[in-house]
C-alpha cells in the first residue's frame, strides 16, 4: 500500500467549479488532523490509506494490529468518537477532526483500564495478536450494554435492556466480531464479564 515517492501536497480543501469541495486529487497526500489518545496529531496520508495503516505507519502506534485487513477478524478495533470500529475498513482521510482512542490510550495515570487488568487476571490471551482488538472491543461493548443496546442474544428486543442482563451468552454474541485463533474465548468472556462489574 505504501508508495515510495509520495507527493507532499498539503492542499486540504479546494473548490471545484461545480461546487463540490475536493479534498485532493489522485494519489496526492493530504494532511489530516485528529485527536489520538487525547493528543492533537497530524497525519499526511494518501486517500487510499486506511486508518489502521495510518496509525501504525504514520503515528507509530503499533498496538493496533493488522490481521485480515478485510473487516473479518477484529484485530484492528479502535474507538472513533467513543465507538468501536474496524480501522482496516476506515479511510484515514475521512477522519478529519475525529477523536480516536487506541490500545495505547486506555491506561490512565499509569493504571491499566479495568478491562486490561481483567485480561491479565483471567489469562485472556495466548499469542496476544488479537488482544488489543479484543480489549478495545470489550471496553466499548460494555458501554453499549450500559446504554441499553440489545443484541442478537437478547431474548426480547422490544423490552429495555439493562446491564444486569449481560450474561456470558450476551458477551459471546457481542464480542463475535473479534476472532482469537488461539481460542482463548472462555477466558476472554470471563475477563469481560469481570470487568463489566468493575468499570
Amino acid at each position: 500500500m505504501g508508495q515510495a515517492s509520495r507527493s507532499q501536497s498539503n492542499a486540504t480543501v479546494e473548490s471545484r467549479p461545480d461546487g463540490a469541495r475536493m479534498a485532493e486529487t489522485g494519489s496526492q497526500s493530504v494532511r489530516v488532523s485528529v485527536t489520538v489518545n487525547g493528543h492533537a496529531r497530524t497525519m499526511v496520508v494518501e486517500p487510499r490509506m486506511t486508518l489502521l495503516d495510518a496509525l501504525r505507519e504514520e503515528l507509530a502506534l503499533t498496538g493496533t494490529k493488522k490481521g485480515c485487513d478485510r473487516g473479518e477478524c477484529g484485530a484492528c478495533t479502535v474507538h472513533v468518537e467513543g465507538r468501536r470500529v474496524l480501522s482496516c475498513m476506515t479511510l484515514a482521510v475521512m477522519q478529519q477532526g475525529k477523536r480516536i482512542t487506541t490500545i495505547e490510550g486506555l491506561e490512565q495515570d499509569g493504571s491499566l483500564h479495568p478491562v486490561q487488568a481483567a485480561f491479565i487476571e483471567h489469562d485472556g490471551f495466548q499469542c496476544g495478536f488479537c488482544t488489543s482488538g479484543q480489549i478495545m472491543s470489550g471496553v466499548a461493548m460494555i458501554e453499549e450494554a450500559k446504554a441499553g443496546w440489545p443484541s442478537a442474544a437478547t431474548a426480547d428486543v422490544t423490552k429495555a435492556f439493562t446491564i444486569a442482563e449481560l450474561s456470558s451468552a450476551e458477551i459471546r454474541e457481542r464480542m463475535s466480531g473479534n476472532l482469537c485463533r488461539c481460542a482463548c474465548y472462555p477466558n476472554i468472556v470471563d475477563a469481560v464479564a469481570d470487568a463489566t462489574g468493575r468499570s
Partner: protein
Amino acid sequence: MHSFALSRADDTAQAIAVHANDAQLAFIAGGTDLLGLMKDRATLPERLLDINGLPDLARIEALPDGSLRIGALARMSDVAANIDVRRRFPVIAESLLFAASGQLRNMASIGGNIMQRTRCAYFRDDDGPACNKRRPGSGCSARHGLNRNHAIFGWSDACVATHPSDLAVALAALDANVVVRGLAKVRSIPFTDFHRLPGSTPERDNTLDRGDLIVAIDVPTRVEGRGSHYLKIRDRESYEFALVSVAAAVATDRRHLRSVRLAMGGVAHKPWRLAAAETALRGVSLDDIDALRSAIAESFIDARPLDHNGFKVELAQRVALRALQTAGERT
C-alpha cells in the same frame, strides 16, 4: 488498494450532480462494503465522494402519518438500538442485530446496507474466475460450481447469486419504500421493486441510476409491525451471512392469522416475498401446524435448487414456520 481521489460533499443537490456527471465516481458513507470491494478489485472507482457530511440524513423519526423514516446515513447500530424501532418493528431491529459485528454495525449506514453486493465467492475472487457481475459476458462460475450458498428462486443462467442484506429482507416484508433523490426529483421506490432479478444483466443489482442517492427508508405504519420476527440460519451462530432467513410480520384474530407478510433472504438475487403462502395462510390457526406447513409449501412449488443447495428448499420452509410462530406470539 488502487489509487483514488476523495472529496467531501456538504450539499445534497451538488453531490447528486457530481455523481450524475462522473461515471468513475462512487459515493462512500460507512465504506464497510465498498472498501472490501475495492481491496478485492471488484470495483475500482477513480473518485470517491464522502457523503457523511450531508445534512439531515441520519435521523430516525416518525412522520406525521405515523410511518417510520430511517435516514440513509443512520448507522445500523443506532437503528437497532432505537426503542421505537424495537417496539414498533422488532423485525427491523432483529435483522440488524443478526447482521455483521458490533464494530461493523457502528460503521455501516442504512443506505449502504441495502446497496451491498453479493457475497458469492466467485464474485469476490480477485483471481479472475468467470463472473457476469464482475465482467459481463464472462459467464457464471457458480452455475455449475460451488453453489451451496446460492439461489433457489429467480436465478438465471447468467447469475445464481443471492443478496446478502438481512435488513432488506425485513424491509421487503414490511412493504417499506426506498426514498431516492435524483437530479430532477425525489421518488419513492416500493422495496420489492428496488432490487432486481439477474436476468441477462446481473451486473445491475438494483434499479438505481447514476445521479441517484438514497436519502431514507420509509416504513409504513401497520399492525403487523409489532407482531414481527426475523429468523436467520447460518453456518456459524454469529457474525455470518444467512444460509436462509425469514422476516415474518403478522396480525392475528384469536390465534388465527388475519394477515401475513413473509420475505426470505439467502434464496434469491433480491429479498423474496412468499406471496402464495401469504394468501394461503390467511385464516389459518397458529395452532394448526399441518395447515401452516401446507400453506407455506404453496410458495415452494416453483423452487429451483442448484446442484449443491437442495437442502435450502426444506430448510427455508421450516425457518418460515418458526418465524411465523414467533411473530404470532408477539401479537
